[in-house]
Symmetry: D2
Subunit: 447 residues, 4 copies
C-alpha cells in the first residue's frame, strides 16, 4: 500500500490526480494521499482537500486524504512525491508573461523569458524538497510536473545526487490521443516514438497496430488537421513543412517555427489584458467556486479547459507502472544515456522509456531528423545555461541564458528584461540577492 504526497496540493489540477488514483486503486493501492501547500495557498488547499475527500468517499475507496502546510510531516516514508507547485502563484506567472511582452518578446512560462524565471524561482525550492526527501523518504520517487519540467529535471540530475526523479508532462499523451482521434481509432491501437526535450518533443514515428503510418499522419496533419492543446493557439502547419520536418512537432514548437504568428498573438493578448496567466486566473476562480460546492464529489468537466488534459493519466500511469514493475513504454524526462545521438549522454531529455520498478529506461532513437536536431540542441544548451544560472545566481549567467534563447535573440533586450524581472521576482530568488542589489543600485544611479 502506497503513500503519495502532492506538493502544491492546492493546485486546480489535483482533482484530476484524485480521480486517477481512484480509478487505479486495484493495481496501485494508495493508502494515504497527502496534499501539501504553502501559507498563501492554504485556502485553496482546504477547498481541494474537501473535494478530494468527497470524491474518495463517493467512490468508496480506502484512500486517506491529508492536507497540511507542514511539508516535512507529509514527506515521512512517502513512496511517491508529486511536485506541482508554482512559486509565487499565478501573480508570478502574469509577471513572467507581461514583462517580456512589454518589450516585444514572448514570455511563455516554459520556453521563453518567462520560463527562464519560472525555472530560476522553482529550482531552489525543488532542491530543498530533495533535501527533505533524503532525510525523510530516501526510497521515494519524485515526479515533477512543475514547469519548466525539463529544465528542473536537468538541474536535479546535474547539481544534486538524487536520482529517483522523473520529469513528467502531458504533452506526449495528448499528442498520441489527438492522433488517434484524427485517425478515428481507439487510442490503444496507436503507439508513437517520442524524442526531444520537454515542450520541444517530436513524434518520430506513429504505429497503428504496430505498423508505421507516419507518412499518412504527416500528410493528414499537413492538410490543416488540427493538433494542439487547450493553452496554445492553433495555427495549422504548412504541408510541405511537415513533410520536410519528417516528424510530428508538439504544439509548443509553434513558438519556434511559427514565431511571428505566436508573437503577434501573445502581444495581442497582452494588450487586451488577457495573457495566458490572466486567463488562467479567471478559469481558476470559476473552478474553485465549483470545487467548494459541498455537493460536488467528482472532477468537473470545466477542468479540461485549464490545459491539463490527461495530466492525471500521465502521473497515475507512471506511478502504477513503477509500483507494479510493469515494463510498458511511457514518455518521461530523464537522463539521455545515449538514446538521442545528437545530445550528450548526461543531459535530460523527454523520451519514450520502458518503465519498471527501477525507473525509466530510455529506448534508443538514434539521430533526430535534421530539421528537428538543431533547435533541440540549441534549447538544451539554453537549458544548461539556465540551470547554471539557477545554481550560481550570477547576473552574467542569467543574461547569457536569456540572450541565447531563440525566443529572445537580442542581448540588448535580454539585459533590459532580465533586470526588470530580477526586481519583480526578487523575493523568490534567494540565490540572486547580490545580483539584484547590483541592479537596484545601477537603476537608482541612472534615475
Amino acid at each position: 500500500m502506497a503513500k503519495v504526497v502532492a506538493i502544491g496540493g492546492g493546485s486546480s489540477y489535483t482533482p484530476e490526480l484524485v480521480e486517477g488514483l481512484i480509478k487505479r486503486q486495484d493495481k496501485f493501492p494508495v493508502q494515504e494521499l497527502w496534499l501539501v501547500d504553502v501559507e498563501p495557498g492554504k485556502e485553496k488547499l482546504d477547498v481541494i482537500a474537501g473535494l478530494a475527500r468527497r470524491m474518495v468517499e463517493k467512490a468508496r475507496v480506502d484512500i486517506k486524504v491529508h492536507a497540511t502546510l507542514d511539508r516535512r510531516k507529509a514527506l515521512r516514508d512517502a513512496d511517491f512525491v508529486i511536485t506541482q507547485l508554482r512559486v509565487g502563484q499565478i501573480a508570478a506567472r502574469v509577471q513572467d508573461e507581461s514583462i517580456p511582452a512589454r518589450h516585444g518578446l514572448i514570455g511563455q512560462e516554459t520556453n521563453g523569458a518567462g520560463g527562464l524565471f519560472k525555472g530560476l524561482r522553482t529550482i531552489p525550492v525543488i532542491f530543498s524538497i530533495i533535501e527533505d526527501c533524503k532525510e525523510l523518504c530516501p526510497q521515494a520517487w519524485i515526479i515533477n510536473f512543475a514547469n519548466p519540467a525539463g529544465m528542473i529535471t536537468e538541474a536535479v540530475f546535474r547539481y544534486t545526487d538524487w536520482r529517483k526523479f522523473i520529469g513528467l508532462c502531458n504533452v506526449p499523451i495528448n499528442m498520441e490521443r489527438s492522433i488517434a482521434q484524427l485517425l478515428g481509432v481507439d487510442p490503444q491501437r496507436v503507439r508513437m516514438d517520442f524524442a526531444g526535450l520537454n515542450h520541444m518533443v517530436f513524434g518520430l514515428d506513429v504505429y497503428l497496430d504496430g505498423v508505421s503510418i507516419m507518412t499518412e499522419v504527416l500528410a493528414k496533419l499537413g492538410q490543416g488537421q488540427s493538433m494542439t492543446m487547450q493553452n496554445i493557439q492553433d495555427i495549422p502547419w504548412t504541408p510541405g513543412f511537415l513533410k520536410g520536418l519528417e516528424a510530428i512537432p508538439c504544439p509548443y514548437l509553434r513558438y519556434y517555427f511559427q514565431k511571428d504568428e505566436m508573437l503577434a498573438h501573445t502581444l495581442e493578448e497582452h494588450q487586451q489584458g488577457r495573457t495566458r496567466g490572466q486567463q488562467v486566473r479567471a478559469i481558476e476562480k470559476d473552478l474553485f467556486t465549483q470545487y467548494a460546492d459541498p455537493s460536488l464529489a467528482e472532477k468537473p468537466p470545466q477542468l479540461e479547459q485549464r490545459g491539463g488534459a490527461y495530466y492525471s493519466d500521465a502521473a497515475c500511469n507512471l506511478m502504477t507502472s513503477i509500483y507494479t514493475d510493469a515494463g510498458d513504454v511511457q514518455v518521461v524526462n530523464t537522463i539521455n544515456d545515449g538514446a538521442i545521438s545528437d545530445l550528450p549522454q548526461d543531459v535530460v531529455v523527454e523520451i519514450s522509456c520502458v518503465i519498471g520498478r527501477e525507473g525509466p529506461r530510455p529506448l534508443t532513437m538514434g539521430h533526430l531528423p535534421l530539421a528537428c536536431r538543431g533547435i533541440v540542441q540549441e534549447m538544451k544548451a539554453y537549458e544548461l545555461l539556465a540551470c547554471r544560472a539557477a545554481v550560481s545566481g550570477e547576473y552574467e549567467h542569467a543574461l547569457v541564458a536569456m540572450a541565447v534563447n531563440p525566443l529572445v535573440q537580442s542581448e540588448k533586450k535580454a539585459a533590459v528584461v532580465l533586470e526588470e524581472m530580477l526586481l519583480a521576482h526578487r523575493e523568490h530568488l534567494p540565490q540572486f540577492q547580490d545580483a539584484i542589489r547590483g541592479v537596484s543600485q545601477r537603476h537608482e544611479i541612472n534615475s
Copy 2:
C-alpha cells in the same frame, strides 16, 4: 613553380590576390596566374587582367597573367584553384537581400534566406568545377572564397569524393588584427584559438606572446570597444553578455545575438534602396573605373571599403604554407574530425589548423562554451539541410532548411519567400526545375 587559377577572376577583389602573390614570390613562386570568368563578366575580367599585368610588371616579378572564359583550358595542371565566383553576379545578390526584406526578414547573403539561395545556386557550379579538376588537375588544391563558404565546403565533403578542398574566409584574420589593434600591439604577438562555423566563428582564447589575455580582451570589448568589419553594422556588445559568452563573437554573430537591431537596420537599408548588394554595386562601379585607368599599377586604397580586408593575406598565407609544408596554424573550413566535441566528426567547421603540404589538420578545441554551443549546432543542422536541398532539388528540403534558419523561424514566411526566390533565380537553379514548375503552376492557378 606553381600555377594558380582564380575562377571568378573578374572579381573586384582580384587585385588583392595579385598583390599578395607578388609579395610572397620568394617563398611561393607563381609562374602562371589564370583568371577565369563567364561571358557576362568578360568586361570586368579584361579590366582586372590589365591591372594585374601592370602590377606584375611594376613589381618586376615573373608571373604570367592569363585571362580566359575557357575554364577547362585554365585548369589543366593547376596547383591551386581559387573559387571566388558569384553565380548571377551582383543582381542575384540584390534579389537575395530584397525578397526576404520585403517580407520582414534578414536576407543576408551568407547566413540568412539570401545565403540559402546563394548556396543553392553556387553548389552545382562548384561541383562542376570539381568534375573538371578531377580530369585536368587531380593534384590541385581548391580554395574556396565563394559564400556561403561553410555550406559550400560542407556540400563538397558530403556529396563529392574530392578531398583537397578548403573553405576560406577573411573573418578570423580580421578579428585577430582587430584585437591586436585594440591592444595596440604588433599583430605578430597575438594568437587566437578559433572554432565554430563560417560566419559563426568564435575566438575561444587570445594569447599575447603565448600568454592568455582572454579576460582582459573580453572586458575591453565589453567597454564598447569596436570590432567589426566593413560590411557589418557596428553595434557594441553589452559587457555582461560577453563575460557570460566566454568567447569573442565574430561580427556576423550580431545577426543572432542582436537580431532586432540588425533586422531594423537591414529593413531600413532596404527601404532606402541601399541594401548591401546595392552599396557594393556602387562601390564596384567606382573601383572598376579606377582599375581601368592604365596608369594604375597597384591595388587602390578604396578596395578596403569593399569588405575584403586581409582576403589576400588569408589566401596567400594558406597557399604558401601548403606549398612550403610550413606547419603553422591558420583558420580554415575543413572536416571537424573531433576538433569540436559538440559537432559530429564528419561535418565541416571553421577551425584553427596546422597547415602542411598534406593540407589542414585541426587542433582539438574540446567543448564550445555553452552559450556558443547551441547556435553553432543549430546552424550546422541548417547547413546540412541546405546542402541536402542543393543536391536533391526538392521543394520540401529547401522549405524546411529555410524555416529552421534562426533568422527566419517562420514556416509560413519561409514558404512565401522560398517560392518568390525560386522563381526569381530560376535560371541558376538547374536542380530545382521540377519544383519551380510546380510553384509556377500553383501561382497561376491562384492568380
Copy 3:
C-alpha cells in the same frame, strides 16, 4: 497465419523449434513450416521432417511441414526465415578446432580462430539468402542462429541494405534461467539487463520482482556457484574478480578471463581426439538414430546435452512478440544505436530490446563497467576486421583479423594457421580464391 522457413532445417536442433511452435500455436499461429537444406544434408533433413510431422500430428495442431532442397521455392512469401545452417557440416567444425589446436591456439567455433573461418564461410551464404529474400519475401524477418551470430549480423548491417535481420543466441536466456535456479525462484520473477556482444555478453543487473539483487548474485556466483552451459567447461570464478568486474560474465568469457585453463582443456580434448566438434558428431549420431525411430513423436531429452537449451524459447518468443507486437524485452543482436556508450552507434551489439512488430529497439545501457569495456571494444574491432575480410577476400584483411584476436595475439602463428585453414576450407571460400592460389603457390615453392 504465418509461414516459417528454417534454412539448415536438417539441424539436430530443429525438433526444439517444432516443439516451440506447437506450444505457441494459439498466439503465433503457423500455417506452414518449411525445412530447407543442401544436398549433403538431405538424409538428415528427411529424418527431421519425418519427426516434425509426427510431432505436429501428435499435438493435433495445424502446421503443414515441408522439406525441400529448393531454397527459393521455400522462401516465397515467408514471414520468418530462420538461418541455422552450418557451411561444410560438422567436418568443417572439426577443422576449425583442430588446425588452431595443432599450433597451440584455441580454435573455438565462435570467438577463436575457428570462429573467424566459420564467419568467412557463412557470410557469403547469408548474403545469398538475403538476395533471394529481397526478391521472394521482402517483408520477412530473418532470424539468424548460425555462429558466429554477432559477426554475421554485423556483416549484414554493414555490407547489405537488408534491415529486417536479427541475430539470436540462447546464451542470455540460459544465464537468466541459471540465475533463477541459483536463487531457487520461478524464472518469471527474474529479469536481467544484458549488454555486450554475442558470446561476450554481460549481465549488468539482475532484478528479482523488479528489485536489483546484483550484489547478492555476484557474491553467490563468487562462492563457486556454477553457471555455465553444456558446451563450455565449468571453472568457477574467483569471488574478488566478479566483485571487481561489477557484471555477470557469460560462460564464453572464460575464454578471455581464464584463457590458460581453457587453452589447456582445449588442447587436452584435441589430443584425445574429442574436440567439441568430434563430441557433437557422436551426440548427433545418437540423436538422429532416435529421431529416425517412427515411434518417436516428441523432442527426446538427450537433445539438451547438445548445448542448445532454450534455443527454441529464444526463437519462438522472438517471432511471437514480433507477430503480436508484444512490446516485451528480449535480448538480441541488432544495431547499437547509442545503447552502449562505449561502442560506435552503427555497430551490432547483443542487447536487451523492446520487441514490437517493427523489430527490436535497444534499451540504453550507458557505459559498460570498466572491466568489461575493453574486451568488448577489442572484440568489436576484431569483428569489423573479420567482416571486412569476409567481403573483400583479401589475405591481409584475414591475417590482421586473426592476429588481433585476443585468443591468438601472435601475427606469426596467425599467418601459419590462416594459410592452413584457407587451404582446408578452400571449397567454401569463394571470395578468397585469389588469396588461396597465392598461398598454394608459395607453399609449393617452399616445399
Copy 4:
C-alpha cells in the same frame, strides 16, 4: 632564465638531460638545475651531480647545478619539474619482472603485471610532488618520464586538479629517427603522425618533405627491416601483417602481436637470471663507475645501451618549445580532447601536439585503423582500472585491473601474482595497507 628541477636526479639518464640543456642554452637559457633524490639514492646523486658540474664547466655555460635530498627546497619557484624517479629502485623492478615470470607471465615494467605495480607505487609519490608544486611553484610545468608514463598521466588528470602535467616518452622520437635511418635521409625531412597510448603508440602516416610515403615504409618494414629499441627484443614483423595493420607499430606492440615469442624470450631471460632489470643493474654499475671518473666531463657513449636514446632531445625540445612558445609539433601524453575518435574525450593519450607556452594541443587524428583500435581501447580501459586501484587501494580493483591486462588474461593467475606482489612491495604501497593485511592473514591461515 629558467629553473629546472629533476626529481630522481640520480638517474643514470641525467647526463643526457644535462647535455641537452647545454646544447640548447641559447634558446632555452637555464640558470639553475636542481637534482633531487631520496636517501637510498644519495650516493648516485652525488656522482651524477659531480659529472653534471664538470659537463657544464667544460661547455662553459652558466648553469648552476644543485644536488639535494630536500625536495621542497628544490621546487621553490621552479619553471620545469622533471619526474624521472623509480620508487624502490632497481630492486623493485627486478621483483616486477620476476614474480610474474615465475607464474609464466610477462612482467614488463610498463604494460604488464610489473607495470601495474610500478604504477601503484609511483602514482602516490607523483601526487605528493604535485601537492608540493601547488604550494611552491604553481606556475611550473611537470614533465613526467617515470613509467608507466601513460597511466601516471591519466591518474594525474583524473584524480588531481593539476593541469600543467605532460607525460613524455622517447619511443616516438626513436621511431621517427629509425624511419629516417631506414630511408637513409636526414631526420629533419621526416615527419610522422602519432596516435595511441604510451608504449602503445602507432605511426599513422609518414611524410618525407611533406609527402606521404606510408605505403613504401610499411613495405620496407615488412621486408624484415628492423625497427626496435635497445631494451626490446627485435623480431621482424610479417609483411602482410603490417599491410593489414595500416600503421607502424611501436616496438612495445610486440608484446601484444608477438606475445608467444616475447613470453618465451622473457621466461628464458628470467631463468638465466638476466631479466631486463638485472641487465640494467649491471649496465648501471658500469655507467656509474665511469660517471665517477673525475676526468669524465661528457656523456659516455655506453649510456645509449641503457635504452634512453633521444630521451634528452624529447625532454629538452619540449621545454624549449614551451619556453619559446614555438608552435611546433611534438608527441606527448595529454588529454585526448577528441583527437582520437575511438577514445573518450577525457582520457590521456599519446598524440602529436602543437606545443606552445600554454602547453600541448592535440592534432585531430580521427579514427584509428581498425586493427589498432581494439587493443588501444582495451589498454585504456585497463589503465583506467589501474588508476582507480592506485587511488582506492582496494584489492578487487587491483585484481580486476591485472586480470583484464592482455598480457595476463587469467583471473586465477592474476590473483596469485597480485598477492605475491602486494606482499613484496608492501613498503611502497601505503594505500593498500588494509588489502595487504587481509592477504597476509589469509596466507597465514592457509599455511
